[in-house]
């Protein structure tokens, strides 16, 4: 009988673990979440020799089994639970040849859980340049494990790794360090209380950070309070354990690892002299940000215009050519414009993920964490909050998930709460279409004015996030000292394959997730716009025909405008009109705002649906918006109302998915409720002030 082998990929961050994962599984992978929490779970299938299949689980990067963050806790929980369906038959520990000593600490911990373990020494292509030589055979003997030299960059060693995985049953499960020797008295008494159990596992349960409120720890404490000593006693033992492990590691490395340091060339110190410099570091950082935002605007306008025009054409085609049983009006006026409103994002989202992936993969992101930590701390954040805030420009959902490596709860909570203020890509189409309507396409001091306004709104988002963080920092109690230990990885040229996979996976999941909501809302909107209550809607054609100034030529246009106004949707928009009139919006924009509370990206699609229903002329959304006027002929979209609308979208909490993720991450409805109310309140006031100021 052939059984699937469960493989767990474990390793320190920055060891190229995901490159190894990508090599083993190719595009044959899927990402999901661990139940109940939002730590990303990456799984894939790898075909091994002789028809055996392996399920590869890429666990979050961790430095040790003594978890200090949510990410690390996932690894420990899995490895302690033999009954978990993902419990590995074999563990593959990925290490980096240049940080082997530190990486081996985690290896010895995994090994002591009596799981068959393979050590991958990655980036072996750097060995010669760094003057490193390793005796693999000797190392296998010392570690009682299989050792493979792998170069994910050059695709070397992957086949050997696959062979070892296939033959996992022959790998020894002998531990590296006997935990009992750390404190004989303590551990022999522990052993007599829990006979026949692995001492190291017991020890891990005892020392798990109480923050994570582990069920197992509580259960054990109820059974045996004796060994739950004071935190300082336990920490002292943990330090002794660490020393013992390093003694073992040093004795192994002395025998089989040689480094000729004379050969080491140092790119790191040269680059760091500039990139982490007090002044130059910040200059480079701002230039990087500026380049990204300019590129986003300049490079994406061509594909976006193309997509916009294509969907308009497709819509016309569908209206004429679809058979009647397919409800051509629903498809042409509801579904296609709605989908167009999401597909139009793809160029920008992909590009943002490209930039973020490059910043992460090169190791530059850690330098940003380093130079910004001090500044961010004034606002109650940490340097680690910069990554979520920058990722927030793509999408708040992955950004909020990226906060989980912030150990301090208060810093993490503040980061989660303020991240939705950063300008996510869902706001981008709203900004782009409004900017192109109200800001002239001219150059000022050589820079594109539309691009400048866009950057201004990105800065506004960041400024608001910092301001909100500052207020929260001053009002929330501090109850935990904050620890900050950040690894500064080596600089690396990013692997094209990794970047492409990241872009494809993230863009795909975003489009599919958002696409579902948008499709549903588009259909709902179309139905609500095409039907209405009472006689006023039912007898529309008679009523319009009886109106003054109605000719054969403008009858259809008048009729559809009348119908929309008296539809269910029109009544909702009319209903909230008094509330939004001071902000400079008419009832049609009101409808777009209401539907945007599901997701901001619905805005453009909604306007497209509304205007299409109101007027069936074949025009792009933008032209249609520019032509929209009030009854007295003044345009709806002016500088004042456009800016006011942009300010509203900049601040308002209009994303159900974000609220759901915040609920999950904070484990309470309290914080998403606070976000919804406070952010939307700020948005209303901000838009009010903007409109009144610019209408003067």
């Amino acid at each position: 009988m052939s059984k699937n082998i469960n493989v767990a990929l474990i390793g320190n961050p920055n060891t190229g673990k995901s490159s190894v994962f990508n090599h083993l599984t190719g595009l044959n992978q899927k990402t999901g979440n661990y139940p109940g929490i939002t730590v990303e779970k990456k799984q894939g299938v790898c075909r091994l020799p002789r028809g055996v299949k392996a399920r590869i689980l890429d666990l979050p990067g961790t430095y040790s089994l003594n978890a200090s963050s949510l990410d690390e806790n996932v690894v420990v929980e899995l490895l302690l639970n033999k009954n978990d369906k993902d419990f590995p038959d074999v563990a593959v520990v990925v290490s980096d040849v240049e940080n082997l000593k530190r990486n081996l600490l985690l290896f010895t911990q995994i090994k002591d859980l009596n799981i068959p373990t393979i050590l991958v020494i990655n980036m072996s292509d750097r060995m010669r340049r760094k003057g490193i030589s390793i005796d693999v055979q000797k190392m296998e003997e010392f570690l009682h494990a299989k050792v493979v030299l792998v170069s994910a960059r050059k695709n070397e060693g992957i086949d050997v790794l696959k062979q070892h995985i296939t033959a996992y049953k022959s790998i020894s499960t002998q531990p590296c360090v006997s935990i009992a020797q750390i404190d004989q008295a303590y551990f022999s008494s522990l052993e007599s209380t829990f006979p026949n159990q692995s001492l190291y596992k017991l020890w891990l349960v005892i020392t798990q950070d109480v923050n994570f409120a582990r069920v197992e720890r509580k259960k054990m404490a109820a059974q045996d309070a004796n060994h739950m000593r004071s935190p300082s006693f336990l920490k002292r033992l943990q330090q002794k354990e660490t020393i013992k492990r390093y003694q073992f590691i040093n004795s192994v490395l002395k025998e089989c690892y040689k480094k000729d340091s004379a050969k080491a060339t140092d790119l790191r110190s040269k680059l760091d002299r500039v990139l982490t410099h007090k002044v130059w570091g910040f200059v480079v950082f701002f230039v990087v940000l500026l380049t990204i935002f300019q590129a986003l605007y300049d490079w994406s306008s061509v594909p976006m215009d193309f997509i916009d025009a294509s969907f308009a054409q497709l819509s016309d085609w569908a209206k004429v050519n679809l058979p009647s049983w397919l409800a051509p009006n629903l498809i042409a006026e509801g579904v296609i414009p709605g989908l167009g409103g999401i597909v139009i994002f793809v160029p920008q989202i992909a590009m943002l993920f490209l930039f973020i992936a490059i910043l992460e993969e090169t190791g530059y992101m850690s330098r940003v964490v380093f130079i910004t930590d001090r500044v961010m701390r004034r606002f109650g954040l940490s340097g680690k909050s910069v990554v979520p805030l920058i990722s927030g420009t793509a999408c708040a959902i992955p950004a909020i998930m990226a906060t989980r490596n912030i150990e301090n709860w208060k810093e993490r909570l503040i980061t989660i709460l303020v991240t939705p203020f950063t300008t996510c890509s869902a706001r981008l189409p709203v900004y782009l279409i409004l900017i192109s309507l109200i800001i002239p396409n001219e150059r000022i001091l050589g820079a594109n004015m539309q691009g400048l306004v866009l950057m201004l709104f990105y800065l506004l988002g960041f400024a608001m996030a910092l301001l909100a963080a500052f207020v929260l920092h001053k009002t929330m109690p501090t109850n935990q000292t904050s620890y900050f230990v950040v690894e500064m990885p080596n600089y690396r040229i990013p692997l094209l394959k990794n970047i492409i996979i990241t872009i494809v996976e993230k863009t795909k999941s975003f489009v599919l997730e958002a696409g579902k909501i948008i499709l549903a809302i588009s259909i709902l909107l179309w139905v609500l716009a095409s039907n209405g209550p009472g006689e006023a809607f039912k007898n529309a054609s008679e009523i319009v025909a009886a109106q003054e100034h109605v000719t054969d030529a403008n009858f259809n246009q008048k009729l559809s405008a009348y119908k929309l106004e008296h539809s269910y949707l029109g009544r909702v928009g009319k209903g909230i009109e008094p509330l939004i009139q001071p902000l400079g919006y008419d009832w049609k924009i009101g409808i777009a705002i209401v539907s945007s509370f599901a997701a901001r990206e619905v805005f453009v699609g909604t306007l497209a649906t509304i205007y299409n229903v109101g007027d069936s002329e074949e025009e792009t959304i933008k032209n249609r918006m520019a032509a929209e006027t009030y009854a007295d002929g003044t345009p709806v979209f002016t500088l004042a109302s456009g800016l006011s609308l942009m300010v509203f979208y900049a601040f308002a909490m209009q994303c159900m998915s974000t609220l759901a993720i915040v609920r999950k991450e904070t484990n309470s409805w309290r914080w998403p409720a606070v976000q919804l109310v406070v952010m939307t309140g700020v948005a209303y006031l901000g838009a009010l002030v903007t409109f009144q100021y610019f209408s003067l």
Partner: protein, 74 residues
């Protein structure tokens, strides 16, 4: 006066002498911050906080408040 890691100048290399285990995060200890190991100061951010250090081969950034807890000798 005892010399702490925060007192080093950029480019200095010293040996970790001692620290109160309760005041340091476990993660830092696991990264190699143990008595007897070498530590070098590579770079500092504005106001000398955080510090960019090399602890026995691990390149890390830590805050000044943590560095003040680590006693070193040159």
């Amino acid at each position: 006066m005892e010399l702490t890691l925060a007192d080093l100048e950029i480019g200095d290399v010293a040996v970790i002498d001692s620290f109160d285990v309760e005041k340091l995060p476990m993660k830092l200890i696991e990264m190699g911050c143990l008595p007897g190991n070498s530590v070098g100061l590579l770079q500092v951010a504005p106001s000398k906080d955080p510090l960019y250090i090399n602890i026995s081969g691990s390149f890390l950034a830590i805050r000044r408040e943590t560095a003040l807890e680590i006693i070193v000798r040159k």
